[in-house]
Every structure is written in C-alpha cells, then in structure tokens.
Symmetry: C2
Subunit: 116 residues, 2 copies
C-alpha cells in the first residue's frame, strides 16, 4: 500500500533523506555500519531506518545476527510517481495561472466587484 503521508513525512527529515540516498547508491547496509558516518548514536540511526521502513521505503533483511536495510524499489517507484504527479499538477496549474495573468493583468489588483 504505502501511505503518502508517511512517505512525505519520512522525507521531511534531512537525515533520512541522506540515509535513503546512501542506501540507494551503496546498497544494503546495517545500522551499525551506517552510524559512524552520522553525528548520532547507532540507536538514533536505527530509529530513522525504522521510520523509513515504516513508510515502506526500506526493507529490513536479516542475515544471521545482522540486519541490512535495503531500498524497496516498488515503494520508491510509487513515491517517485506521486512526486511526478504533484509536479505535473503544479506545472499545469502554474501554466494556467500564468495564462490567466497574461490575458488579464489587472485582475489580481481588483479590490471589489466593480462598484463603478
């Protein structure tokens, strides 16, 4: 399923965006491996990874006593789809707005229903 709110909220934190970037470029890693590169404890990193996993963006994979977090391709694609969608919607609306302003430059300065 992957819930839009959870995804955008997860993406709202800069540390989590960095983590996601890292894992999508370097492949699956454990919290213990990641932690030294961040100015926080392993547990703090674990919490961020758990949040990302909760949003469906990562999948924890157990290997013996280790747990590697892997980017979840499907969820990432879905999230990317939302972003593209939102972007397109903005573009359309902005284009419409632009046309509107060009064709009637005064309209935005109107103060009332043309009281004449």
């Amino acid at each position: 399923m992957t819930d839009e709110d959870a995804v955008f909220s997860a993406l709202g934190d800069p540390t989590r965006r960095r983590l996601l970037d890292r894992l999508s470029s370097d492949g699956p890693m454990t919290a213990t491996e990641l932690a030294p590169d961040y100015p926080m404890s392993r547990q703090a990193v674990v919490k961020h990874l758990t949040t990302l996993a909760g949003a469906g963006l990562l999948v924890p994979e157990r290997q013996g006593r280790d747990v590697r977090y892997r980017v979840h391709a499907e969820a990432m694609s879905e999230a990317a789809g939302w972003m593209a969608d939102i972007t397109a919607r903005w573009d359309r609306r902005l284009a419409a707005l632009d046309r509107q302003v060009r064709s009637n430059p005064q309209s935005r300065l109107d103060k009332g229903p043309a009281a004449g």
Copy 2:
C-alpha cells in the same frame, strides 16, 4: 534561493500539502478565507502559510487590510525540479540494482567473500 531542507520539511505536513493544493487550484486566498475549511483556528492556518512562505513556496501579497497568499511559481518549479531529480536518481539506482540482482541472483544472500 529556496532551501531544499525547508521545502521538504514544509511538504512533510499533510495540512500544508492540502493548503498548497488548494491555493494552486483556486488561486490566492487569505488565511481568514481558508480557515473555515480546516479543523483549526485562523492563527494555526496563518502559521502553516508562514511556514510555506518561509520555504519560498508562497508569496504573501497585501491588498489593503487583506493578505492573500499566492503560489510562488518559480519556487514551485524549482521544488518540482528537485523532485524530478530525486526521482530520476532513484530510478537509475533502482534500475542498476535490478540489473545487478538479475545477473547475479545469489549475491544478496552471500555471507562471506566467496570462499568456494
């Protein structure tokens, strides 16, 4: 300039995404006009609008005693650009990951440096 952190953080809140959607579809509005449609006070809405404006996504425009918040096309395009960028990056990495997994299906289950 418009700072990426501020934008993603602003987008992290569902109320703010709704506000942005609304303003980009219905055009500029005041906090007082918007507030009745949200389960919160005018002041709470003002705070959200201020946050969005702080991220550069909205521009407040004074008209007499009213202040209408207008979607800031340029900043929105820039943000859309980031999103498209991130999306593309994910896509590339995910594609690479996919290729890797297909060409060497065992690799992710390997537990050591290929002792065999």
